[in-house]
Every structure is written in C-alpha cells, then in structure tokens.
Amino acid sequence: MSRPILLKGGRVIDPSQQLDAVRDLLIVDGRVAGASDRPPDGTAVIDCAGLVVAPGLVDLHVHLREPGDEHKETIASGARAAAAGGFTSVCAMPNTRPPIDDPAAVGFVRAEGERAGFARVYPVGAVSVQLAGEEMTEIGELVAAGAIAVSDDGRPVWDSGLLRRTLEYIQTFEIPYFSHSEDLGLSAGGVMNEGPVSTSLGLRGIPAAAEDAAVARDCAIAELTGGHLHILHVSTRGAVRLIRAARERGVRVTAEVTPHHLALTDEAVRGYRTEAKMNPPLRSAADVQAVRDGLVEDVIDCIATDHAPHHYEDKEREFDDAPFGVIGLETALAVCIREMVTSGRMTLPELIDRMSCRPARIAGLAAGTLSEGSAADVMICDPEERWVCEPEKFLSLSRNTPFAGQELLGRVALTLVGGRPVFDRGGRVAAAAAEKS
C-alpha cells in the first residue's frame, strides 16, 4: 500500500461535488480521506499552492496499438503518456491487430494496463467479429471480461440491421455503443475536408455530409431501440444540429469532440502537412465554431483525444498515402485550456467536468470524482504554466501532433492513480518523501 499523501493548499476543483476552493486533500490507503481526517504519521506533504487539484482526466477514446503495432505505441507507453497528460483512465479502442473481439483479447488489454501501472486502461470491445461489420461479437462475454463499451471505431457499423441489433443487445449489459459515424459512400477516397482548401490543394475531399448523414441514421436507430449511442469525434455543424435535435426529443445520445477539432481548421493541412491528417478531418471555421458552441451548450458532453499514434516513417510521405490520425494525450489539457478557458468560453471547472466527470459517467466508470472514499485518481496541474510543445519530449512512442512548436498554456505537474504517483514532473513526491525520512 502506498504511503499517505497530503496535497496541501491547492485549488481543489471537483465538479462532481460542485467544489472549487483552496483546501488540503488527504489520501490514505489509495483513497480520498474525509475532510476532518488527520494525516497519519509518515504522510508525504506536497505543497500545491498555486496549483489546481482535480479528479484525474478520463479519455473515452484512445488507440494504444497493442497488439500488433507496438512500434507506434504499447499499452504501457500509451498509459504512461496518458498519465503525463493528467489522464488517470483511458478507454482503448479495439482496432488493433488482431482486434479486441473476444474475451481473451479484452483480458489481455486489461492485464497489460494493470501490469504497466500508469493510467487505468479500460478495453472497448469490437461490435463485429474482426471488425468486419457482419457478425456480432459475444458482447456479453466481452463485458464480463472487462469491456466498458463496444465500437468498430475506425469504421462505422455500416449495416443498419447490425447496428439496430447492437443498440438493442447492449441494453442488457448497460454499456454504450461508441459510434464512428461516417457515410463511406460519401467519404470514399477522401483525405481531407471537402471545401475551398481541398480544391486548391487538389486533394480529394470528405464532405461534412459524410458525417451528418451517418449521425442522422445513427440517431434514428438509437431512437428506435433506446440503446445508448455515443458519437465519437463530432466534427461538423450538421452533426451538432442533429445531436441537439435528437436529445431534445429524448433520444439516448451522448457525444464527444477532440481537442484538435476544437482548435484547428482545414487550413492546417496547407503545405500537405500529414500531421494534420486525421479522420474525421479538420473542418471549416464554421464547423469549429459549431463544435465549440456545442460543447459550451452541452450538446456535446465531453472531450476525448482520439489519440492515434503513427510511426514517423508512415507520416513522412505523400499526403494521399499517409495514415489518418494524430496523438493527443500529452497536449489535450493545454490545448483545451487555450481554446475553451483562456478564450473565455468556459471556466476551468467546466472544462474539468468535460474532461473527467462527464466522460466517466458516459462509460459508467468509477472515476471523475474526489468525493470521500473514492479511489484517489488525481490530476495536479499549473493552469498558468507556459510551455512549448516539443514532440521529441513526449512519453508516447509517436510524435504525430499538429501542435508541434506551438506555445501552450497549462501543464500537468503530478498524476496519482489510486493514490500512487504515476507521473511526477517536478519530482515533488520523491522530494517530500526524502524530507520525511
């Protein structure tokens, strides 16, 4: 059992309890102690003056590439990068090689996550065997083995009949379906957003309608079935409008947006920058405005990174041939502080709600809170610290970020999982421990 820790004098922000106050937070036996509990002997005291102490961030959408592409990322390296970004829980998508479509594979991801001992790793199981979109996996078995949701992410569940049965079947197990909503007929061959930029670069476009059409269908099937539809990486104005309308009529739909879709437009692709190539693609300024508004107005529930590592060699090539995807775990908090908080669109507690409490609730995770007795998954950051994004310093095995070289604001100092330091930038815990002994 790790030693007790007293986080002293930080600004404790816990939206799950509407808490925002300067106070101490005591952690004993890996759990958050009561406000009146006294620190036992041997407690490591960490000065958190000027820092924010918040529930660890929760990411519903990461690709950890293991098994199959361990040169891009492993479960351990991804979970470590997550910890460095303030994330204490991440949900790993099943589109690995082989995919996570049977209970043994789910068990493998869980066990590797535990063995690594950084952020908690929750497997997302596949909807269809081999992600082929044909035959449903043993979803009940996947959940029993530890899956917290199902998804064929990377691809939509294209057969509407299979999608219907999935949204019905998952209700027994009370898990959400994570939807990569894309109309493949409309997006076919596209490599970036369709619009003036794609026209001038001569790159084939993916129209916003490819997302809108799929979201409309997915919402209709969610309405029919009552299953929990969670829409991944919302990127278009039309999708925001459709989700808003579906929620207003009581459809069980939640949604997420990525930091890059909040921060960047398709102008970032100019110069054929493959580090700005992802799916869904960076969209127009009007779309960026719509997803920001959607997040502020609670149509979009939460922020998720869609952390998608790729080896530099795969990105160092012609735009058409480069793979889709960008990493995000180590920049998400800072990018979102810049785009949403510094810009005055949200308060910091509201942002933490969308990066911790709300995603935890969507996936039914016991996370996103610092209430008494809960596991001490804690993120401590300096929201004022300025730093320059230098990919070569990332803990992720990959470097494919569109934010390289940018000045960012807000940096994680310390991350605890179950009261155990899993990331400690300044060596605060070690220093405090040395002081005591």
């Binding site: 794609s198 001038s200 090539r317």
Partner: protein, 322 residues
Amino acid sequence: MSATVTFGKDLTGLEQLSAEQIKTILDVAEPFKEISERPIKKVPVLRGKTIVNLFYEPSTRTRVSFEFAEKRLSADTVNISATGSSVVKGENLVDTARNLEAMRIDMVVMRHGSSGAAQFLADRIPSNVINAGDGQHEHPTQALLDMLTIRDHRERIAGRKVCIVGDILHSRVARSNIYGLLKLGAEVAVCGPRTLIPHGIEDLGVQVFKRIEEAIEWADVLNVLRLQLERMKAGYIPSLREYNRFFGISMARLERAPHDILILHPGPMNRGVEIDSHVADGPHSVILQQVTNGVAVRMAVLYLLAGGQPERAELAKRERGS
C-alpha cells in the same frame, strides 16, 4: 522586362508565383522559341548541369517536351520512370529524394500521382525541383505554355475570357491555369458536368457554367481538358456518348459563338469525346502550337531556375552550342 524579378529554388506551382514572375517566364520563352527553329537546336546555357526526369506516372508528352528543352540547353539528362526502374520501384519518395541528393544532381523534373509530391521533394533536397504534374494539384509548365499560346494569338492575357471545359475535379491543368490566368488579369470560368466540378471552386475566383452553350457564348478561349476514361467507370458520368452530346466541342456549337474562339487542348485528345476531329484539326485549334510552345516555356523555366538572368536570355540564345 524587369531585371529585379527573381525566382526561388523550385517551381512547384503557379499559386506561389507573382504575376511578374509568370510574365517573366513567358517573356524569356520568346527568344527560346527561335532556337527550336534552327538547324542546330542547341545553346550551351546549361552545359555541365545534370537533370533527372523522374516520372512516377507515364507521360510521354511532358517527358519528351522536358527532355528536348533540357537537351537544347545542353544539359545532361537521365530519365527514371516508375515502370522498369529499381530506383523508384518499391522505394518511398523520401529514400528516392535522399538517393538523388547523394548523386549530386542539379535539377529534378518530377511527375507524380500524389498532390503535394513536388513540394514534398522540394522541401527535402537542395536541387531545383520542377513540378511536371502532381496528382490533382498543379501542372505549372502546362499552364504556362497555354498562356504563352493565348498571348501569341490574342496579344495579352488581361481581360480575356478563358473557360476550362471538362473534368475540373481531377485536373491539375485546370488548377494551374486558374491560378496563372487570374494573376495575369484574365476572367476565368469552368464548365462541365457538376460531378466533375469541385465544391468551393468559386472561392478561387472563377465562375461556373452548367451548360457548354453558355460557356461558348461567354468565352474568347476554351481550354478543353482530356476526359479520362476511368471517370466513366467510377460513375462520374454515365457514358462517353452522353458526355460528347452535352459537353463535347463540335463545329456546330462553335459556329453559334458570337465571336471567334480559340481552342486549346493539353493532349492527348479523345477525338469524338471531349472534342470533335473537325474542331481539333480546324481553324480554331492551336493545339499543335501548344506543343511547340511547351518546349520554349520549359527551356525558360530551366534557364531561370538555374539562375539565368531574364535580361540575358536574348544573349544566351546567340551563343552557339558545341
């Protein structure tokens, strides 16, 4: 001709060039035209320079045109094509670039199937890179020779109405023409089936005609693009026959034009599809002159990127090849 106009290392597209730079290339092409008319078609301007023609897509026309331009300027040239060359086969573009760099060549002329490939190469090697067509992005020397041909027949580009007809969506020739013509003050339109007109094209500053009759009524110049036969298989148009009926350039259509129209075509032509033979071989057509001008324009580009002074092009012409 202004002596202050300078050029960068590469020619990846016309989007990055200024009107002055484009005019300079066209002006420098003028004296080079005459070299091709001599019995000994050679000047020593690029003697000792090595040029690699790196063609990832088959294109006899463009490659041969560049090769003539290079040889008439006395450069040493090597052709590498994706078909049948181990240098290119199975090797990625980064490694090819590094290999070229290691061989200390002076210039690379590249044709590649991916948009942005020319820029990609230019960013990675110190040699001059000339884009001979990259995916659906740009084909700058084609647009330059088109503009030179228009200028030959219509004195100036400014104020002329040029309509590009056909598959705009997949055409690098269209994009380069749009950028170049607009910079020189032309009015530009496009016309074709809506499936082959990219969304957002109006944002580039061009107007769109849905019907060829409207385009013919408006235009001074029609630049008729080749219709790739794959477009029919991919479902962009139902049949070539139907394309010819609604968008083909025929004598009957041109006769209804309110004024004399110049017909350009970048070749190779699909006779009876986008253009009827009577038009291609008729009085409106300047298609063969485009081919002749292609060599002169490419000589001008090679000369200028190699550091040649625009005002010395006339003198360079007078030097005799050995």
